[in-house]
């Protein structure tokens, strides 16, 4: 009897509890266009939350009666907050309109400090490109998305046909990628072999956001973060199943297809398995890049064709919203012609057969946060070279470049202080050979470098969080070993190199300390000022340490004793908002570079088979002075029309050049660094509306010095590349699940030339049609 009573009471109590539960549901829409906002985060109090589905619909069930703080947020939109009150057994329908914001100062970034901070809270110049901003940019490649950031210099002479693009910042040489660190989801992708990054690897459709941190970041990341760091963050699934497929067609018979599928195995976006599959394919007939003079002289000039494709698969598991693991695998392959074909079926070309494997484990408990990354990045590079002059020459460069490692960070928050530390381990290696098919020569080069990094950072908030100070220090140690340079069966092609034949190159090591101290004072949400000092460095690359060979201007010899080059950067900056419509930012910097690496004459000469040429080698021989400033403003012209304007000035000069030999006639002192535009700027107008979203961008690139000697170049016929301007347009429209994008890059067909006289592609138009499901 008693048991029955208890059972009845329990059942009644339970039923009453169920009946007393409430729900809240509704739609999240864009306040300007009325379109649904998918994947918006809806948090009810601290413990309940959900994500809007692809139609912008959300629902939260099993809510006890009471008063709650409701918060709706999504990247690219102003966060909405309100207090709601729920009675028992009530279903509240609450539709929310989110106001889109182009400005990202309130967005959270992680790259600048390895901890989460609003951009406005980081005492440095940080830019974030959100998904919303990406939609307005007519981008064919990832670096196109970054091109409008003030002071960012993109070196991609042949558009999508470029096999080796580079990005530089803050007055550093425009052709050297090794002075800017590039990360994908926090994993460094600059190859140890040459410091380069393959900017063609990722599809724009995979990217969630891009964080750009200017100024040295070596106190956290170590090598390559001299001018700054760029972190490309890929998307993470939030819905049970979604997809996006598109095809686009454009200039030079360029065709691209993209497919993205993702899903979660549970309805709870903070728990369970998730997966993502992304793939793209592109091909193009290309165009003739060679100068008119080369076309006359060389009957073997052809269009530079391209074919590339990639697949990325990601699998992850969220234990909860703070703890999880994920692994991803990417395969990329391309075949890019370089515009000359004699006898080989595909002519001269470059291939990058690339495998990336990444694994991440992140967690948080109480005040402790941790992250561990493992990575394995392998690139099999193949270059086919053939030409017909006195006779026919055909050889292949086959190079395996491998970078693998483990990165860790641990953060502890105590009151107003966050201490972050970590250990990084990395090994980079190269194993390459030049195989000749028109002679018996084979040239081998190989080398490895182990790197260890230890870092520590302290973030302190004082004076009611108005004053923020960040201090950091990192120690890096690297060891070069297992190096070799060998020539097999030399003939006239390589016999001059035999004096450098060495199966066991000497080992060497270096170390670097990278301090940082920065502070900012926030007067209020509208005004802040900051100042910082940071030291960065670029390590020597394996190619300079273990490979000798022909380069422009002579013969390069390897040097294992190369040390890193350094930069000390002093910077001040300020941000201000006016009337909630205008945001401005200003940064000024002064940098002193030490031990900058340059190719210099050793004083010896060598007969390369077509005459005596100087022997040169990379050496740490110069001091560089760089200063400049950057200004940006974002203005809501109307409620819907957003204007962005920016300008950057850079002055980069060699202050002290010490040649290797006293009889070297070359003195670069007071010469300017090459390929650094003195002036850069852009103006963009973005107008989202219900008819067709429209954006227009006008860019200006200032004059750049052609060569280290700052002398008239015999091909360019000037000492500087001329300045030029381009205008880009993008029109986009979504109809329910279908979207159309028309991108017009360089609509006035402005052509420019590199130092070989090769020509850029000019106007590039693509039309994209796709669907979301």
């Amino acid at each position: 009897m008693n048991k029955k009573i208890i059972l009845i009471l329990f059942t009644t109590f339970f039923a009453l509890e169920v009946l007393a539960q409430s729900s809240i549901k509704g739609e999240i829409n864009n306040s300007e266009t009325g379109e649904p906002v998918p994947f918006a985060n809806i948090m009810l109090g601290d413990k309940k939350g959900t994500v809007s589905n692809k139609n912008g619909f959300y629902q939260i069930d099993d809510i006890e009666a009471g008063e709650y703080h409701l918060r709706i947020s999504y990247v690219g939109y102003k966060t909405e907050e309100q207090v709601i009150s729920l009675q028992g057994n009530e279903t509240l329908t609450l539709n929310i309109e989110l106001k889109p914001t182009f400005f990202t100062a309130d967005e959270v970034v992680i790259t600048a400090t390895k901890t989460e901070n609003n951009i406005q809270d980081v005492p440095a110049r940080v830019h974030m490109i959100s998904s919303r901003q990406m939609k307005a940019i007519p981008a064919q490649t990832i670096d196109d998305l970054i091109a409008n950031i003030p002071g960012v210099n993109i070196n991609r002479s042949f558009g999508i046909f470029t096999h080796s693009a580079s990005i530089s910042m803050r007055g550093l040489n425009g052709e050297e990628q090794g002075r800017v660190l590039v990360l994908i989801d926090g994993i460094p992708t600059n190859k140890s072999d040459g410091g380069s990054v393959n900017w063609n690897l990722l599809n724009t459709g995979q990217v969630k956001q891009i964080e750009v941190v200017k100024g040295p970041g070596s106190s956290l990341y170590g090598g390559n973060a001299m001018g700054g760091a760029i972190n490309i963050i890929t998307k993470k699934p939030t819905e049970q199943f979604s997809g996006r497929a598109s095809i686009d067609y454009g200039t030079y018979n360029t065709l691209r297809g993209q497919l993205n599928l993702s899903g979660r195995l549970s309805e709870n976006k903070n728990q369970g398995f998730y997966w993502n599959l992304n793939s793209f394919y592109r091909q193009s007939d290309g165009y003739i890049t060679a100068s008119e003079a080369d076309q006359i002289a060389n009957p073997y000039i052809v269009e530079s064709e391209l074919m590339e494709w990639a697949t990325t698969a990601k699998l992850g598991y969220d234990f909860d919203d703070k703890n999880g693991v994920d692994i991803s695998f990417m395969y990329y392959d391309d075949d890019r012609g370089t515009g000359e074909k004699v006898y080989q079926p595909e002519g001269n070309n470059r291939e990058h057969d690339t495998y990336h494997f990444r694994a991440k484990y992140f967690g948080e408990k109480n005040n402790l946060k941790w992250k561990v990354n493992l990575f394995y990045l392998n690139e099999d590079y193949k270059r086919i070279s053939e030409w017909l002059k006195d006779d026919y020459t055909f050889y292949k460069v086959l190079s395996e470049r491998l970078d693998l490692g483990a990165l860790s960070s641990l953060s502890y928050q105590l009151n107003n202080q966050t201490v972050t530390g970590g250990i990084d381990l990395k090994q980079g290696s190269v194993d390459a050979r030049d195989v000749y098919y028109t002679s018996t020569d084979i040239v081998y080069n190989r080398g490895k470098m182990n790197m260890l990094g230890l870092f520590l950072q302290d973030e302190i908030k004082l004076m009611n969080e108005k004053l923020k100070i960040i201090a950091g220090l990192r120690f890096d140690y690297a060891n070069f070993f297992d190096g070799g340079f060998e020539i097999e069966n030399p003939t006239a092609e390589t016999t001059f190199m035999t004096r450098y034949h060495n199966q066991n190159l000497s080992e060497d090591s270096w170390q670097a300390f990278s301090p940082k101290l920065s502070a900012q004072y926030e007067f209020n949400k509208a005004y802040r000022v900051y100042a910082s000092y940071a030291k960065g460095f670029r390590p020597a690359v394996l190619d300079d340490m273990c490979r000798s060979g022909r380069i422009k201007g002579g013969f390069k010899v390897a040097d294992q004793s190369l040390q890193p080059e350094y930069i000390n950067n002093f910077e001040i900056g300020a941000d201000a908002r006016f009337f909630n419509r205008l945001r401005t930012s200003l940064s000024a910097y002064y940098s002193l570079g030490d031990d900058f690496m340059y190719y210099v004459n050793t004083g010896d000469s060598i007969d390369l088979g077509y005459g005596m040429r100087p022997i040169i080698k990379a050496s740490n021989i110069s001091e560089v002075e760089i200063y400049g400033f950057e200004f940006e403003l974002n203005y809501f012209l109307t409620q819907k029309i957003i204007v962005n304007a920016n300008y950057a000035y850079a002055h980069s000069q060699i202050k002290n050049f010490t040649p290797l030999t006293t009889n070297d006639p070359v003195d670069l002192t007071n010469n300017y660094l090459t390929n650094v535009p003195d002036h850069m700027g852009s103006v963009s107008v973005y107008w989202p509306n219900k008819i067709v979203n429209t954006s227009i961008t006008a860019k200006y690139m200032g004059a750049r010095w052609v060569n280290d000697l700052n002398q008239v170049d015999e091909i360019v016929l000037d000492d500087q590349y001329p300045d030029y301007s381009t205008v880009d347009l993008k029109f986009s429209k979504e109809f329910k699940n279908v979207f159309v994008n028309l991108s017009l890059q360089n609509i006035f067909d402005q052509k420019h030339y590199d130092r070989k006289g090769a020509i850029s592609p000019g106007r590039f138009i693509t039309l994209e049609l796709g669907t979301k499901f």
Binding site: I296, A297, N298, P299, K389, T393, Y437, T438, G611
Partner: protein, 299 residues
Amino acid sequence: MKTYKLFLFFCVLIFISCSEEELSETSPFILLKTGNEFSQSGDSIPVGGKIKFGIAAVGDGAPITNLTIKRITENEIITELDKGVFIKSGGLDTTVIFVKSNAEIEQWKFFIMNAHRDTASVTTTIYKGEGSAWGEIDYFPSIEIGYQNNQSIPNYVDLNNGTSYDETSVAGNESLIDLVSYYYMSSGTSSPTLSCPSYPSAREFFPEINDWSIQNSVLYDYYTTDNNLITPEQFDDAQNDSLLVNAFKPSNVSGTCKFCYTGKIIPFKTGKGKYGMLKIIRADENNTGSINIAVKIQK
């Protein structure tokens, strides 16, 4: 019987299943032609005399990509020819002519490679005969040649008879032209340059050459020139082809010779195998100027 048939069946199966690569590995082949017109192994040839070889080769499944000829004596190994080629079909069939050196015994090695880097070789031995067979030469003491932007002086030269042609008179005589000259700045250095119709840079400065059906080649020994190994006096004293032949170093040659300043001596060999030498009497250093050369060449 059944067992036998079964065994045969499996043999055939295995044979058929062999991949094409397993059945047909490339094996290039080279031989030297016989016949009275060609030098044979064991021949005795006086110093200065002509050595003539006929070469036949096949790549056998892959294009021939290299032909190398080496002259091996007691004292040295000279690479007389190391040429990249791409002969896809029909094989190689060519004749090469050299001049007998002073060595008592010369071993000649002929080597080919195909696009799979498979190789084949053949050797032959030539002995020094009695006497000397140096040949006569032609001498052209002064030939004026206009650079690329000089239309008042002829731009095209036939080295065999010292005749120069302008853009009008060259029509119909393109197959005789061995030499053109131009001026440019090479990596910041002034460079009066000698070239030949087959060389790409010559076509850049004289684009009309692209339309010539025959574009002759000349190989200039730039090493001897750059290092001033032959003096103008030696050039002036040459009465037969011994200096012309001995001065030419085949391992450092190109179809273009840069930095041909006044006073330089340049050994060369035409595409038809004639050895020669030229002296720069005067070289202007601007692209509307001209260059004056003296030429000695085998008859």
